[in-house]
């Protein structure tokens, strides 16, 4: 796809792509969860994130004459701007089913982040974004409740579940700094009134996360410097594999109508 994206587009695509890729990952649980109720809950969250992504992609695409599927299915890897955290497989070795501990930890971390972000986007100067945020915020609060409950339940469950959750937290922690990085895209969004600098979400995120970790008897690892540039289109090696699935059908049947 040949499209050059403005700072406004990029700001919104970062959010849209993070929701889209997280949805794609969580949909992998459908049929494979530890309890049937979680097959439903994970699918439900995946559906919500997919819906949020679709709304934003449609909104961004409108300016380029592109629809949601052209954006989702025909961009190349470096044109995706999601945070790398969203694209990691649930288990480091890619096994199916994945590591539910990581799923719970990531969904908690990102639901909290989304909740804080949507709260701020309610006041976006772009009324469409504000409208999307209003719906998404309700969903995110539910996701945070659900995932946070599991975090506490598993962190403060058995010795094994505690160890697994702590390992999951340790695995995701180095991916967090990207969620709070600051750059010219954020600056543009702030000056347009489009949305907050992500950096501004860090303090409230950390305070609430620490409270959750404490209830879950888990420890926050030491912070490390940011090494990830998903927001600038520089991803982990996992995204390419994920996209080869996500986009396969559109590419294998060119000109298809679905």
């Amino acid at each position: 796809m040949d499209a050059s994206f403005s700072p406004r587009d990029r700001y919104l695509l970062r959010i849209a792509d993070t929701a889209l890729i997280l949805s794609q990952r969580n949909s992998e649980w459908c049929g494979h969860a530890p309890v049937l109720e979680e097959d439903l809950a994970q699918s439900n969250m995946a559906l919500d994130w997919l819906g949020q992504a679709r709304a934003l992609l449609t909104h961004v695409g409108a300016a380029h004459g592109l629809d949601e599927d052209q954006l989702a299915m025909h961009r190349l890897e470096h044109q995706f701007f999601n945070a790398v955290l969203a694209e990691l497989p649930h288990a480091p070795d890619g096994r199916q089913p994945g590591d539910f501990a990581f799923t719970v930890a990531r969904n908690t971390a990102l639901s909290l982040w989304f909740t804080l972000l949507w709260e701020r986007l309610l006041a976006s100067s772009d009324p469409e974004v504000a409208a999307i945020a209003a719906k998404a915020l309700k969903e995110s609060r539910y996701h945070l409740q659900h995932s946070g409950d599991w975090l506490v339940r598993l962190g403060d469950g058995t010795a094994e579940s505690h160890a697994r959750l702590q390992a999951a937290i340790d695995r995701l922690w180095p991916l967090l700094p990207e969620l709070f990085e600051d750059d010219e895209v954020d600056a543009a969004a702030e000056s347009l009134g489009l949305g907050p600098r992500w950096r501004d979400l860090q303090a409230p995120w950390r305070a609430q996360m620490d409270a959750l970790l404490a209830r879950a008897t888990l420890k926050a690892p030491a912070d490390v410097p940011n090494a990830h540039g998903g927001r600038r289109g520089v991803h982990s090696e996992h995204l390419g594999h994920l996209l080869s699935e996500l986009q396969y059908l559109q590419r294998a049947y060119p000109g298809g109508v679905w």
């Binding site: 889209l20 794609q24 949909s27 992998e28 459908c30 049929g31 494979h32 969860a33 530890p34 309890v35 049937l36 109720e37 979680e38 097959d39 439903l40 699918s43 439900n44 995946a46 559906l47 997919l50 819906g51 992504a53 679709r54 992609l57 949601e68 599927d69 989702a72 299915m73 199916q96 089913p97 539910f100 506490v152 339940r153 598993l154 403060d156 469950g157 058995t158 094994e160 579940s161 697994r164 699935e245 996500l246 396969y248 059908l249 559109q250 049947y253 060119p254 000109g255 298809g256 109508v257 679905w258």
Partner: protein
């Protein structure tokens, strides 16, 4: 014996039997078997369609498919709950599935090989399931009948969605897409017909079930209804059903159709279909890998309870 007579009279009168009511042991057992098998089918049925969620061609189709597979999980939930009213537990039923003791619908032992399989499953497999299930909404056991009302409503919706997704392709798609749809129809047609079970003269449990109002039509009656309904739908769609013997029989007022390969049916029922081993392995994996989660949830709940007690 007086109880038994009263029970038979209520069945005769078309009353619903409820969980607290007296019922013959064999009636109870038959229902538990049928309802749990139905629940298992919903759960195992999540796998073949789930295989395409990550590869759905558009975001809208992805959302529809994800919601559909989620609904199947939901059906599994109500059905397990309906079976529990008869004095079994979800754990017990799950173990029967995982050890291969309990059956599930054999149709899910076939693989989903293309995206069109998803649409064709909606059209044919859900179509056949509805044909089987609508009569169960009037089943004599109340909790099952009520669960089936909800299940059937959702299944009809899925069936229409599946059919519609094929129609879009057959009306406006590329030649390669249309070939994909025809290929999927070729593979799913015969297994769909097998979903109604063996021919009436080889179906030993049918008679009793009919008498008890657990079943309302015979296998062959339902199969014929399905063929009659589907032939016209295939015409509208523009696909060919892979049976040269299908033709309208004026005298019978029904479509004739070719001989079903019952050897294949029994082979797949017997565990040697293309995906039997993988389906069961996938369910066992989900269960085994999830053990620590279930244990932890119970441990946490116990801790919470202990705290509440202490506080009290």
């Amino acid at each position: 014996a007086a109880k038994e007579a009263a029970f038979e009279a209520r069945i005769e009168a078309g009353d619903f039997i409820e969980a607290k009511d007296w019922m013959p042991a064999h009636y109870r057992k038959t229902l538990v078997r049928q309802i749990s098998q139905h629940a298992h089918s919903e759960i195992v049925g999540m796998l073949p369609e789930g295989n395409w969620i990550t590869r759905a061609p558009t975001l809208k189709r992805k959302a529809i498919l994800l919601a559909k597979v989620q609904d199947e999980g939901g059906h599994g939930l109500y059905l397990y709950a309906a079976a529990e009213t008869l004095g079994t537990s979800r754990d017990e039923m799950t173990r029967a599935l995982l050890t291969g003791k309990a059956k599930y619908s054999s149709i899910f032992n076939y693989p989903t090989l293309t995206w069109a399989d998803v649409g064709v499953i909606g059209w044919l497999v859900d179509g056949a399931a509805i044909m089987n299930q609508v009569p169960l909404c009037r089943c004599s056991y109340g909790p099952y009948a009520r669960a089936m009302i909800r299940v059937c409503r959702e299944e009809s919706f899925h069936q229409r969605q599946g059919y519609e997704s094929l129609l879009v392709i057959m009306q406006n798609g590329t030649a390669a897409q249309k070939a994909m749809v025809q290929d999927a129809v070729n593979r799913w047609w015969w297994p769909s017909l097998m979903m109604f079970g063996p021919p009436d003269d080889q179906s030993p449990n049918s008679e009793q079930s009919l008498r008890w109002g657990i079943k309302r039509f015979t296998n062959d009656e339902l199969r014929q209804k399905f063929v009659d309904a589907t032939v016209d739908q295939a015409k509208v769609l523009g696909v060919t059903l892979p049976d040269p013997d299908i033709r309208w029989n004026e005298a019978r007022g029904h479509h004739d159709f070719g001989a079903i390969n019952w050897d294949e049916f029994w082979r797949v029922v017997g565990g040697n279909g293309p995906c039997n081993r993988e389906r069961l392995a996938a369910r066992n994996r989900a269960w085994d890998e999830g053990a620590w989660v279930r244990e932890a949830a119970m441990a946490h709940a116990a801790k919470q309870q202990a705290q509440h007690k202490e506080a009290a």
